[in-house]
Subunit: 256 residues, 2 copies
């Protein structure tokens, strides 16, 4: 199963990605958890110690590898570098989870970074098409790491939303892009649902089939966000709330 | 005064950008308000009606203009297209505010978008260096629209944070980038401060000089986020809370 997770910043994408990854891992699935959102910190949210997380090189920075895989660069940009072997080398292992950080494409300065972009897209392609493991991609509000070609390999795109107009607008935009890209299933998880009005707002904007589940507002999760290294606490607090969603996913709830 | 606003997704950058823009406008300042974050909706947050906002073309999509300003493309990419005259043509006027939407650099597919990136960076450069008006840039967590050259023209970078470890981590990363880029003043605004512990966490991580102000958690703002077109309500609710920050900015609080 290949899962991409998107949604507006701040809705809880990374927390949900980490919780699902750990649930899969606890249930003996092997998974790749990929931080594809520069505005996120999946490594520490998964529970990788900060000192260790800092040492994990983002794939975008592996310039030597990029050079090599792209035949040294030059005027023409190879758009299909072979990167499959890179993935296992650069993953950080945590229980049954292999963690990868994509990193940000540098845009400052005057250089051209199309090669790096192409490299990152081919990593996503390799993950989605060559790997047996479950793959979870924590993406930003944009889903630009996906191309028309690789999108068909995504089984489900989950858009995380909260009860606000802006997060719903972002979700609608992402949904439209996903349909255009040909992603077979697009679902939403409603996070931080604080009361019945909030639930109502979600139901007014998405059909029952689209909604993979509701996660109630959880004060414990909010409080533990203030504390460094409290990921285990957050995980325990969220696991129960996400049981239904997890089982839905396993039962192929994504593609029904 | 040229102001750039950054911070983790979901902390309230856009709401704060819109509130400051309207406060400047109400006080007879002419300002450019620039949506430079694809994961945001500054137009509707400012109160531009949705039908109107949809029609505002993002500058990134003005391909003809890009072609023209870049001498028709070709193998060499002109990195300093003249774009000053484009800005007034494409701004949407609302009271004393000229609104511009940067738009997202398309990354899907196989093309090279360095030209478009270069065009957008030169727009930012032109705004920061050629304009008399106050300029507020609503940026994402990344500040990649700024280059080493243009950053010196930014008077103050405001990083919006909330009481969570991840938003503080993002702020530290942005601060480091800003210092490397040579931005003269970097300050934080703490948003959604829900209690004394939250305030304490901010004070533990930033010095008094760095903190431009605290905005208390405001239930009215949260509730109005659920309603379409409630920007005026949000503005009135936030204005009083932001008076001190606004005056700090006017008094050059940014650069003291």
């Amino acid at each position: 199963m290949k899962i991409a997770i998107s949604g507006k910043g701040g809705v809880g994408k990374t927390t949900i990605t980490a919780t699902l990854s750990k649930m899969f891992s606890e249930n003996d699935y092997n998974i790749f958890a990929v931080d594809a959102d520069p505005d996120a910190n999946l490594a520490t949210t998964l529970g990788i110690p900060e000192e260790e997380a800092e040492k994990i090189k983002p794939l975008a920075e592996l310039e030597d590898v990029i050079e090599e895989k792209n035949d040294g660069g030059g005027a023409f940009i190879s758009l299909t570098p072979k990167v499959d072997d890179t993935l296992d080398d650069y993953a950080y292992n945590l229980d049954n989870i292999k963690f990868l950080r994509m990193g940000e494409i540098k845009q400052g300065g005057a250089g051209c970074y199309c090669k790096e972009n192409s490299f990152l897209r081919s990593i996503v392609e390799s993950l989605l098409t060559d790997k047996e493991e479950i793959v979870i991609l924590d993406m930003g509000a944009g889903i630009e790491h996906l191309s028309r070609g690789t999108s068909r390999a995504v089984d489900i795109l989950i858009i995380v939303i909260e009860a606000s107009q802006v997060s719903i607008e972002t979700a609608q935009t992402v949904k439209k892009m996903a349909v255009e890209l040909g992603i077979p299933a697009v679902k939403v998880i409603a996070n931080k649902v604080f009361d019945e009005d909030a639930e109502e707002l979600i139901k007014d904007n998405f059909s029952d089939e689209e909604i993979l589940g509701f996660i109630p507002f959880n004060k414990e999760v909010m409080m533990s966000a203030m504390t460094k290294g409290s990921n285990e606490q957050t995980y325990q607090a969220l696991k129960a709330d996400m049981e239904v969603i997890y089982n839905n996913l396993l039962r192929g709830g994504g593609s029904k």
